[in-house]
């Protein structure tokens, strides 16, 4: 039983990471109808930025995190300008392909600069954690869960209680109507890209001490964000969060009780199962095209 609780706790920690990345992913789908295959690269870049600031330049850890997240937000704008902007009137597929191109480009640039080896990095706290009963609470995992929860809450407040949030929501629901009402749709979409990249970058930074920093982390994280998104319900914000958590827990339990090498397969098996049986996911709406 204590084993089980221990695993659930770890699963929640990893799941919180998936939830954050998936959240950024969903926001782009809603704001700009962009299915971003480079979402995991945001996490990878965020983590490498912290490596540069902390491991290499020796800047204060927390200051380094802040700097990395801000740079990632700016990077989100560049990303939008390169992959989304020139193709925005050409439908979904060309943008998907160009984000795939961006993903290949970013991974290989990082590979070229830093090489293929994984880089270890310090966690947020000096202490490893503490014991509650028979469950060991790792401070990094706990921090991830707390920070993710706080961010979700903050985002909820911004979206529901502020004018900016209302404008962002209006943009995601009906761009034409929003622009007729005087909402600067382009700026809203750009804000979403910046936020999505910052969120992804932060997720990468938080998970870096656990997974270590490597080029390979990008692809895996992108794919997990997809899976979380389908499990939760395509385009659903609560779905992205719960889908991410569910995925993290299922994967951790599966790896422990069934098979370690196939750890990454559980996400995809869940994804397959959902697509076959309940394609609208946990929170999704049925999709239909208007005649």
């Amino acid at each position: 039983m204590s084993d089980f609780l221990q695993l659930v706790f770890q699963g929640l920690g990893i799941g919180a990471i998936y939830a954050l990345v998936s959240l950024g992913f969903v926001l782009l789908i809603r704001a700009a109808s962009v299915v971003n295959f480079g979402q995991g690269e945001f996490s990878m870049l965020g983590a490498y930025l912290l490596v540069v600031f902390f491991n290499i330049l020796g800047i204060n850890y927390f200051f380094g995190i802040g700097l990395s997240v801000i740079i990632m937000a700016g990077f989100g704008l560049i990303f939008a300008y390169a992959t989304y902007w020139p193709l925005r009137f050409r439908g979904g597929l060309p943008v998907i392909i160009s984000t795939i191109g961006a993903s290949i480009f970013l991974q290989n640039m990082v590979l070229w600069i830093y090489g293929p080896s994984t880089v270890p990095i310090d966690g947020l706290f000096d202490s490893d954690g503490f014991q509650i009963g028979e469950v060991f609470i790792s401070s990094q995992y706990l921090a991830i869960i707390v920070i993710a929860a706080a961010l979700v809450l903050l985002q909820y407040v911004i979206f529901e209680k502020t004018l900016l949030g209302k404008k962002l929501q209006a943009t995601s629901q009906d761009k034409e109507m929003a622009s007729l009402l005087g909402i600067p749709v382009v700026i809203m979409i750009m804000i979403t890209f910046a936020y999505s990249a910052a969120l992804g970058g932060l997720a990468g930074i938080l998970v870096a001490p656990i997974l270590f920093v490597s080029v390979g982390m990008a692809g895996i994280i992108t794919l997990k964000a997809f899976a979380a998104n389908i499990i939760g319900g395509y385009g659903s914000i609560p779905g992205a969060i719960l889908g991410g958590l569910a995925l993290g827990i299922a994967e951790t339990l599966g790896a422990n009780y069934i098979s370690v090498p196939y750890k990454d397969a559980f996400a995809f098996l869940m994804l397959l199962a959902f697509l076959m049986v309940r394609p609208q996911g946990l929170f999704g709406e049925k999709i239909s095209e208007k005649a």
Binding site: M109, A265, A291
Partner: protein, 594 residues
């Protein structure tokens, strides 16, 4: 009819053997060239890679280029073929071709299952499920070491023997795979102009219009994906024999992306584009080798640049510049048989709708509407905005499921039939916001109508072309037969849509606000067209706001308001009905009326 078989009718399905001599010649040249070319070692490998990849990329042309569905697992299907051949020949000592066949069958089966599970849903779902399939396959190939040899891969893959003739020599084997690549290219090229190929392109361009033109959208997508999986496995199986060594990383997610990029770079809607793209990207890394480690980054960046600057790919770029104006088709065609299905009796009920209801949550968009459309009449359905007219048509044509009620068409209950089956029963429609197949020519658009299952000409490709031209004649658009529909003006696209419906020789034609968006001249022309149709006795149901138009052509009018029928009868009676006047002009206030 013989007048038609000239060069004007090139392309669409005219002669099944056209191109065969050239094909045989191409194969002979390729085989002889490969057999006796001095290509060895390095160059031999490059050629083998290009030929086998091309076969996989041609699969993507079908699923993505023709049918518009995203598949990101082509390397997985490639891998299934490769592993079938490798494990089959090395571990199980079975014949090369038998092993290849097993791989192809297995791959096709996987494609079928994945397709059946997801293609009922929207476009991105196939993309998602193929990614997961790709990942799981890579994990299995890497981790199921007892069966797949794991990350070490499989060595000493055999090359085939056929009737005692050995393909063991590199050049001989190259000749074999080049011949296969040529055949697959021709198959994919021919497919585009076939009925199935047209159906795929129609699904790509407009799923709704495809379904109401008698195309089984879901089935067509599944078939397209299935064929692409099969071609992937053929390419992979031949690849394994060519390189004699395979390992899981050759069939990873990244390789799927490479295959996808090859298709897009060359131009995904043409098999020749696929060849250009494949050869370019097989060579590009070789040419970029001086860049050392950055070359993949350059490669990624070029993918974006291609998408931005060469939307139709390299081949599309060349093709667009080479496209000459094709001469209009000349020659006589039999007139459009508008009355072909009507038989003797007129005024008998064709479409009978009883108590039809469609509710969206609490909103009763159509609320218990009954009406009867009689043979040979023009029946108008009018009503203010939001009165439920278009919803009514959508339920009748099967795009929406009815909440209640019954629809009988030519004596058959069609209430629960799928849209394409209603069309096959002879119910054709047009849309308020025109739905044509923009990537196809005018003639191809109308041929889709003509070849609806159940149409009298459907099984004769020549007659399909003739019928399509007759329909274009009727709307006076024959001169534009070979133009892309997307290049036409709005009004002309409307005529193409009407011609598409007419070519299917419908029992009943439903026109959803045909005058919407037309200018005054175009409206007059449309009125004349409708009068001509009426003169030929076609059964028509028309929805429109334009009272002038409706009064000119209607024999019978039904008026809807708030989803309910408020009047039904002869035009003069209905249009003077107080409820109808109130619905259109507003209710007179009580004290004023008093």
């Amino acid at each position: 009819m013989t007048v038609l078989s000239g060069q004007g009718l090139h392309g669409p399905g005219a002669n099944p053997w056209r191109g065969l001599p050239q094909a045989v010649l191409a194969i002979v040249v390729v085989v002889i060239g490969a057999r006796f070319a001095p290509a060895q070692g390095y160059y031999l490998n490059i050629l083998m890679q290009a030929a086998t990849y091309a076969i996989g990329v041609l699969g993507l042309v079908i699923v993505l280029g023709y049918c518009g569905q995203i598949s990101i697992a082509q390397a997985a299907f490639f891998g299934i073929g490769a592993y079938a051949v490798a494990l089959g020949t090395v571990d199980f000592h079975i014949n090369f071709f038998v092993a290849l066949f097993i791989g192809v069958a297995l791959s096709g089966l996987c494609g079928l299952i994945l397709g059946l599970g997801t293609l009922r849903l929207g476009g991105h779902y196939l993309g998602m499920i193929t990614i997961s399939f790709q990942q799981i396959l890579t994990l299995v190939l890497t981790n199921w070491i007892e069966f797949t040899h794991g990350p070490d891969g499989v060595r000493n893959v055999a090359r085939p023997m056929l009737f005692g003739f050995s393909f063991d020599d590199g050049n001989t084997y190259l000749a074999l795979i080049l011949a296969a690549a040529v055949m697959v290219t021709l198959f994919v090229w021919r497919l585009k102009a076939s009925r199935l190929g047209r159906a795929m392109q129609a699904v790509r361009d407009n799923e709704l219009a495809a379904s109401t033109s008698g195309i089984n959208v879901y089935g067509t997508k599944v078939v397209a994906f299935g064929i692409s999986a099969v071609l992937g496995a053929i390419g992979g199986g031949l690849f394994a024999g060519g390189f004699r060594y395979i390992s899981p990383d050759q069939f990873s997610f990244g390789e799927s992306i490479v295959l996808l990029t090859m298709a897009l770079l060359g131009g995904v809607t043409s098999p020749f584009g696929a060849l250009v793209g494949t050869v370019s990207l097989v060579l590009l890394p070789e040419w970029l080798r001086f860049l050392k480690q950055v070359y993949l980054a350059v490669y990624g960046a070029s993918v974006i640049l291609i998408m931005v600057f060469l939307p139709d790919g390299l081949w599309g770029f060349v093709d667009n510049r080479m496209r000459r104006r094709v001469k209009p088709v000349t020659g006589d065609v039999p007139p459009l048989p508008l009355l072909a299905q009507s038989g003797e009796a007129t005024e008998e009920p064709v479409l009978v709708v009883e108590e039809l209801a469609k509710h969206f949550g609490g909103l009763k968009a159509v609320d218990g509407v009954s009406l009867t459309v009689r043979r040979g009449t023009v029946h108008a359905l009018i009503g203010p905005n939001g009165s439920g007219k278009t919803t009514f048509i959508n339920v009748v044509t099967g795009l929406y499921e009815a909440t209640g009620g019954k629809i009988t068409f030519v004596g058959r209950d069609i209430t629960t039939l799928a849209p394409h089956n209603r069309n096959r029963a002879g119910l054709a429609r047009t849309y308020q916001n025109i739905r044509v197949f923009r990537g196809m020519t005018v003639l191809e658009n109308v041929m889709i109508g003509a070849e609806r299952q159940g149409n009298d000409v459907a099984h004769d490709p020549q007659a399909v072309v003739a019928r399509a031209l007759a329909a274009l004649d009727f709307v006076e658009m024959r001169g534009d037969a070979h133009r892309l529909v997307g290049d036409l003006s709005y009004g002309h696209q409307r005529y193409v849509e009407i011609a598409r419906a007419l070519a299917s020789s419908p029992h009943t034609l439903l026109l959803d606000e045909p005058a919407a968006g037309l200018n005054l001249t175009e409206k007059v022309e449309l009125g004349n067209l409708l009068k001509r149709l009426k003169g030929h006795g076609l059964t028509i149901m028309i929805i429109d706001h334009d009272m002038n138009l409706v009064e000119q052509v209607a024999d019978h009018i039904t008026v809807l308001n708030f989803g309910k029928r408020i009047a039904d009868g002869k035009p003069q009676d209905v249009l003077s009905h107080p409820d109808v006047i109130a619905a259109y002009l507003g209710e007179p206030r009580k004290h004023e009326a008093a």
